[in-house]
Amino acid sequence: MMQYLVILLDDTSVSYCHADNPYKERRLINLDDLRAGIRYAMTENLMIQFVYPDYALPKEYLDVIDTIDHHDIVPYPLKGDVVVIENGELRVENLADAVVVVRLKKAELFDSGEAIAATLPKVQRLNVVVTDLETFTDEDLKRYNTLLDQWAAVLNAEYLHGRTPQLNLLTDRMMLTKPNHCNAGVENITLAPDGRFYICPDFYYSQAEPVGDLQSGPAIPNQQLLRLDHTPLCRHCDAYHCRRCVWMNRQTTLEVNTPSHEQCIVAHTERNAARRLLESIRKEATFMPEVEIKEIDYLDPFDVRKEW
């Protein structure tokens, strides 16, 4: 069931997920479209997440935004519920209350091991988004594994001291007993500055087809393929924290319901690191007794699929 409406306020709104936003020219959403989007969310009982550009919005926009309960997703250094940091430096001073999203490429990730480790005790929640996930090789995985263990050591110490900072790559899986994917097009939908609906912001940024407009509302063709029960691999998978990114699926395999090898092996490397972290916390304390992460000997569910 739909629960969220994401509204991109401007063509240059910050990207908080996998795709880069290629738009450089400012174009605000039309004020009437913004009002209509809010009305739509109210009638459908959707929680709105506004996504901001890096400049201050005109007052009449802020007034309209204020007419509804919502969350703000903003680029650093603006203030919001979710603050997105791109291009390098991890600055989290005064962000203790926000969810911090760091978007970086694999190479930057491998250079940021220390910085992320040092950041973890200072935030409530850090989401690390690797934007070129599809380039991961087996060699990269080894390095990634080492990084995850390094961060796990920091988290282990924090948790044993009763503090519980979250790192999406490790702690999410540790706390989940069922899948918690992105669910774009199923639980959330995006209204873009052109006044039309898209499956998620990345579909808009990559110039995919819209899936409806404000007059008739969203109508996603083959919407069932976005649902977990229509994904032959993911529906049997217990990398519950995985984004199961349907946009990345489409980019890499041409099908929204089929993940790439790389998305799976990265998620499973995280899953296995979360398993080790959970074990090590449990050596000292009782923690999340309802969660069980089994030992498995594969990283890609495709390799153990049922063969017909």
């Binding site: 083959n222 395999t253 099908e255 089929t258 993940p259 017909w308």
Partner: protein
């Protein structure tokens, strides 16, 4: 000539890899139902492309683990390129031997031809040379009238886009003259017949005609495309019942088979146990003249009406394995609408992944087209009639057990 089907079990159990060379997009005919919407005279495979493809496949033995291989040649009309094909086959044999490849001695060459060039010295020499490893199917649609309804010669000049156009001249006589030679060389060979809306009235006479030519196995299918008119299912059912009467009353059922009638069809399917995909796309591999690779020829541009070709790689970079994943994880339930999951007569109701892709609302292979729904249901009713009638007759004659022990098992043809 020796019979060729020595190793039938391995070939039929799906353990063979099917690798198709689209050697040409040209054909002497311009059949009216031909799904190859972009057939043209320009795209012929070069020897360099064929060789690079073979080198790629044979040097990646790890990615092709199937026990055996069928090297398939299609067109257009493949025998238009017999010289190239001969060279390809020689090279394949040589390289499989030199590399000590696990396919050496476990391969065959397969052709679907319109039969027009079958008797020529070039084709006959090729057959003599490779006869131990060969299967050849000639397409003939039935009686002269039925055959010539669709299978007509093309016009001498293509249209402005290089696309061939149909003429008025039927090809029956040019094909049927080669049938005796073909059957003397391949006595077990079968023919493929494709039924579209206009063909329905001719089904019975066509199948009987093919039997009378000496063809024992008639593989017959309705097209997957959405071509059906209101009332076609009733007409189809009546034709099939007539055919059932003719086959049973005429005693043809003992030595001849028609794939329309099968004991395996028309039953409900279990969502867990019977969840396999129908077609082999993705388990097969095709290459075209440009060196592009496809999960099946049906995904090449010349086979598609409304979608872009689905290319999974090329002879230089190899296969993008991520693009194969949707094909290799596809199952029946994920792609089927609810009515098919609840269907009481679902078994044997086929689909073609390529047609599904072409007809889908989005660019997906996961949306099953059910254009044949009413036709399948009609077939199931006629099929039930056939078996009830046949078994009653055999029982009355006290021959049921004898029949059961010797019957030809007609498996639903996969593609």
């Amino acid at each position: 000539m020796q019979k060729v089907r020595k190793n039938d079990n391995a070939w039929q159990s799906g353990r063979a890899k099917n690798i198709t060379f689209i050697v040409t997009k040209d054909c002497q005919l311009a059949c009216k139902y031909c799904y190859l919407v972009g057939k043209n005279v320009k795209e012929r495979m070069s020897w360099e492309t064929a060789k690079a493809f073979i080198d790629y496949v044979l040097s990646h033995e790890n990615e092709f683990r199937e026990e055996s291989v069928v090297w398939d040649f299609i067109g257009g009309e493949p025998f238009l390129e017999i010289e190239l094909i001969d060279k390809i086959c020689d090279y394949l044999k040589l390289r499989m031997f030199e590399l000590n490849h696990h396919w050496f001695n476990s391969y065959r060459f397969s052709f679907s031809t319109n039969g027009i060039n079958y008797h020529t010295p070039e084709v006959q020499n090729f057959i003599q040379k490779n006869r131990e490893h060969l299967s050849i199917g000639i397409t003939i649609d039935g009686t002269e009238k039925k055959h010539d309804l669709n299978r007509v010669w093309k016009q001498a000049t293509p249209n402005a886009n290089g696309i061939t156009q149909p003429s008025e001249r039927g090809s029956y006589k040019d094909v049927v003259k080669n049938i005796p030679l073909w059957l003397s060389q391949f006595p077990d060979a079968g023919t493929k017949v494709t039924i579209s809306s206009a063909d329905i009235p001719y089904i019975t006479e066509s199948v009987l005609h093919l039997y009378s030519l000496g063809i024992h196995q008639v593989n017959i299918n309705v097209v997957f495309e959405d071509v059906w008119q209101e009332g076609d299912d009733k007409r189809f059912e009546e034709q099939l019942m007539q055919l059932a009467d003719a086959i049973i009353d005429g005693g043809w059922y003992q030595d001849y088979a028609c794939s329309f009638f099968s004991e395996h069809i028309g039953k409900p399917l279990d969502p867990e146990l019977d969840n396999q995909n129908w077609c082999g796309a993705g388990r097969m591999l095709s290459v075209d003249a440009a060196g592009n690779l496809y999960p099946c020829t049906r995904f090449a541009q010349y086979s598609l009406r409304s979608k872009k070709a689905l290319v999974i790689g090329n002879i230089h970079d190899g296969i993008n394995q991520n693009l194969l994943r949707p094909f290799l994880t596809l199952d029946r339930t994920t792609q089927s609408p609810q009515k098919c999951l609840d269907c009481e007569v679902a078994s044997g109701c086929a689909w073609c992944q390529g047609e599904n892709y072409d007809a889908a609302q989005t660019n997906t292979i996961y949306e099953r087209s059910t254009a044949i729904c009413l036709m399948h249901k009609a077939r199931v009713r006629a099929n039930n009639y056939y078996w009830n009638k046949l078994y009653r007759k055999l029982e009355l004659e006290g021959r049921r057990e004898e029949y059961e022990a010797n019957k030809r098992d007609v498996k639903p043809e996969i593609c």
